[in-house]
Point group: C2
Chain length 247, copies 2
């Protein structure tokens, strides 16, 4: 039976999941997709995901592929699959792709946003999707600091210790800090991200915003190639994978 490869754009609220990747304990986005797809097509299906987001991280547009012998038109999969998924996971698009298209081995750009809510008190309706902070931030200094990150760099200082990667060199196309009312949004776009990289960038830029570091310190942090040189890892729930673009 000939199989076809189907690409899914997957949105989720990460609050109630142990991240993307299948684990022995705990429900994950990947395990829910595998379960729902296997039920739908009555065959064992395992997806391959683009970004293996951490526990608590959200996504508007993560990407996954799977292979199936089913004759269901790829475009219809989104509708059928959403019926079998919990309401905090929703397929946004499904389409057929080349049988060898792999979401991690292709030229791509990922855009993440880290959202901070700067109020006097936490706001319940924002608590799941942004980090509350009562600090005041010097946004211009944060923007200045973010600009140092743009380009091709060895981001080892922004990678969790112990992560297994061949190379810690990545290219950032965009790194900016934007005020949206009482929200502060850190937006980064790059060809790939190391483990916890966006959250370490966010934690470091927040220290710049609070005056604990200077914008130009970003240079020596990058040069250090040492996780200890950068700031803390910001909490997961402020982070959202906004989109994943590919050729």
């Amino acid at each position: 039976m000939e199989k076809k490869r189907v690409r899914l754009v997957v949105a989720y609220d990460g609050t109630n999941y142990h991240g993307w990747q299948v684990q022995n304990n705990g429900v994950t986005i990947e395990s829910e997709l595998n379960r729902a797809l296997s039920e739908l097509f009555q065959e064992e299906i395992q997806v391959i995901g683009a970004s293996r987001t951490d526990s608590g991280v959200h996504a508007l547009g993560n990407v996954a592929v799977f292979d199936t012998g089913s004759r269901m038109p790829a475009e219809k999969v989104s509708y059928a699959l959403n019926q079998r998924l919990p309401e905090d996971i929703r397929i946004q698009c499904s389409e057929e792709v080349a049988a060898d298209w792999h979401p991690r081995y292709c030229e791509s750009r990922k855009t993440y946003e880290y959202r901070i809510y700067r109020g006097q008190f936490p706001l319940p309706t924002k608590r799941l999707y942004s980090l509350f902070s009562y600090h005041s931030f010097d946004v211009e200094k944060m923007q200045e600091a973010a600009a140092y990150l743009v380009g091709e760099h060895d981001f080892k200082s922004f990678c969790q210790v112990g992560a297994q990667v061949q190379s810690t060199v990545r290219t950032l196309y965009q790194a900016e800090v934007e005020e949206q009312g009482e929200d502060l949004v850190i937006r980064v776009c790059g060809n790939g991200f190391l483990y916890n990289m966006v959250r370490i960038i966010a934690g470091t830029l927040m220290e710049v915003g609070q005056g604990k570091r200077k914008p130009e310190d970003m240079l020596s942090i990058i040069e250090a190639k040492d996780r200890a040189a950068a700031g803390p890892t910001a909490p997961a729930h402020g982070l959202t994978l906004m989109k994943y673009e590919y050729r």
Copy 2:
């Protein structure tokens, strides 16, 4: 012992509550406030709320008052109370008011927003605070229809049958429909609202937006003074009490 009256501005995510008002079964915003305040001050405290919002409705700025003999400065109550509240209820402000100030018997303006997310598929991170609709809406027609509601009218057609009220006359200062990207926001501001009034307005305007009714039908709906003349009651979770202003 002399008592003072303290006013609270209360924000909450209504998802997990059976509305504002104390009930025999189910946890409510009011019951959580009473519990936390009674624990904090070691005396039995019952709040008086401004808007008794329904199950599932959210608020950024509902208002409540309570009386206490405690010497704690009123401005400090917000901090102390937030420590004892669940994270989906947060006091935004606390201050002393006149002993006879009552949040329902004072000149005031309430602003509500009803939010609709118009996507091809539901977006998990928006599901708790907006109504998903795959319909397309004629926003101009909705705006035109909303304009008929502004002013002093008998809103009996927009009041749930069986609600006990002396008068169904209310004044709307503002009724508008705004596009915010893929969201559609219905915003109403008035001196008071009948039971389910905003949700019935939202349900009726959505029918106008879908071409099921004409904007000018609002006139005959208002004149009918009959709940059956208006559209359906839109689901609770799209509704947020934005602010409550008073003299």
